[in-house]
Amino acid sequence: MVAVRFALVALLALWLSACGAGRDAPASGAEPRPAAPRVGELRRLLMLPVAYAPGSCRWPDAALRLDQSAVLFVRDWRGYEVLRPARTEPARRLAIALAEWARDADVDERAPPPLRGELGDLAREAGADGVLVLAATPDCAGVTGKALGAITGVVANAAAPLEGAVLDARRGALLWRNAVQPALWEGALPPPGPSPYAMQRAIEELFQPLNNAVPAVLAPATRPN
């Protein structure tokens, strides 16, 4: 009987000591991966058309206002040069697909090959070294609708109303991502939706954590595009 108890205690001790051991310790001798550029090291961002899913909202100019506010903020307050895709429709489709993918992707994760290819082509055409994705899925449901949405959101990982992502055009990898619930979008907003100021505030809320671009005067003159 004593032996059995001793064995049980020993087993418990072993199990407890195993709990303390890290599972994610890096394998010794693993080659370090080449350092990915940080988001501030990008200079020329290709701004894709806003991936806008109006849902139950009737905000006719929302995509346009978001687009313009984003361009202003990223250019004037973060110091990136903003470029436009030459072909709008493929860019819009790519924006929708990238926004969907980026929602669950980790930073530094590369996009699936087909998306990566399209992204690379568009960026090369525009001479961009980064790609900016902006997705808006506003929710104008009433209180009941929002409660139901909250329940389904727990289960289905519902999208935040405003999401942004920056990708490295060369590698097709996610460098930065953020999602916000804009404070001024709360409540059932009738058409035409939030005011231009509310749109601008939402964009600032979203891109506030984005690092400034390395100032052009400090960057080497011949940066790879």
Binding site: P54, S56, L64, L72, W77, Q208, N212, A213, P215, V217
Partner: protein
């Protein structure tokens, strides 16, 4: 023709109604709603971009050697709040708030670009609006600003880049005067609002007593030189955290930027590659 019984008509009607209702529930009107199409069109900037002048070199002449002088303006010289850039109600409120602070501290503050919070103002607890910021953050910010010598950093950066004068050529004088350096609210004065590093310097180049160039170097939220990057902004807390590390980094970066702008504007001078 035999009439259908009333009960069967009612049953059929109920079935049709139920089917219609179910079909209606299944279809979402939103699916069919077209997404408002738009053609991207870049908006005009609200930032006033002040053109940057350059001192070019004639092809036949070699680059001229330079001597560097960097100084900070001294003495209280606070101008009125500049309202010419007011764009929105929010910005107007900001300027009014900043103006109140500036007016209250006119005697104590260092020379500043109008509409900004003076560095010195943070030391004065009675001034309007300063109760927004926690005292410990103020103390850290002020201490950091006192510790980091911006003119010294700019001077070092420029001296490192300049080719030392040699031979008999008379060096050209490059003088940079920091007229304003401080923190300004980006769009509103509140405890969690972003404040930005601002700098307003004047570049003067002289040769044999003749002035060759006089040009401002502006890094402010709403008015900046065309070769200047956006100002570095953060909340008071973010600047103060980790013993003011972010503010320290921002000041050092500002020094590098001012030096680089100076070099860019003087391609005629001899700079190290």
């Amino acid at each position: 023709m035999r009439a259908l019984p009333r009960s069967r008509i009612a049953a059929c009607g109920a079935a049709i109604l139920a089917c219609a209702l179910l079909a209606g529930c299944g279809s979402s009107p939103d699916d069919a709603a077209p997404v408002a199409g738009y053609q991207p069109r870049d908006p005009a900037s609200e930032i006033e971009r002040v053109p940057a002048r350059r001192l070019e070199r004639a092809h036949e002449l070699p680059p001229f050697p330079v001597t560097i002088a960097v100084r900070a303006a001294a003495g209280p010289d606070l101008g009125p709040v500049d309202r010419s850039r007011e764009k929105t109600v929010e910005e107007k409120r900001t300027l009014e708030g900043a103006g109140a602070i500036a007016t209250a501290l006119a005697a104590a503050a260092p020379p500043l670009y109008a509409g900004t919070i003076a560095l010195g103002s943070l030391l004065v607890p009675a001034a309007t609006g300063l109760e927004l910021y926690e005292r410990r953050y103020q103390n850290t910010i002020v201490r950091t600003l006192q510790e980091v010598d911006l003119p010294g950093q700019v001077r070092s950066a420029l001296v490192r880049r300049a080719v030392p004068p040699s031979g008999e050529a008379v060096p050209t004088g490059v003088s940079l005067t920091l007229r304003t350096f401080g923190l300004a609210p980006r769009s509103g004065t509140c405890a969690n609002c972003a404040i930005c590093i601002v700098a307003d310097a004047e570049l003067v180049v002289t040769q044999d007593g003749t002035e060759l160039l006089r040009d401002p170097l502006l890094l402010t939220p709403w008015r900046r030189s065309s070769d200047a990057p956006p100002p570095l902004c953060a909340t008071m807390k973010e600047f103060a955290d980790n013993d003011g590390r972010r503010l320290r980094d921002a000041i050092l970066e500002t020094a590098q930027v001012l030096a680089a702008m100076t070099v860019h504007r003087l391609p005629a001078a001899a700079w190290a590659e």
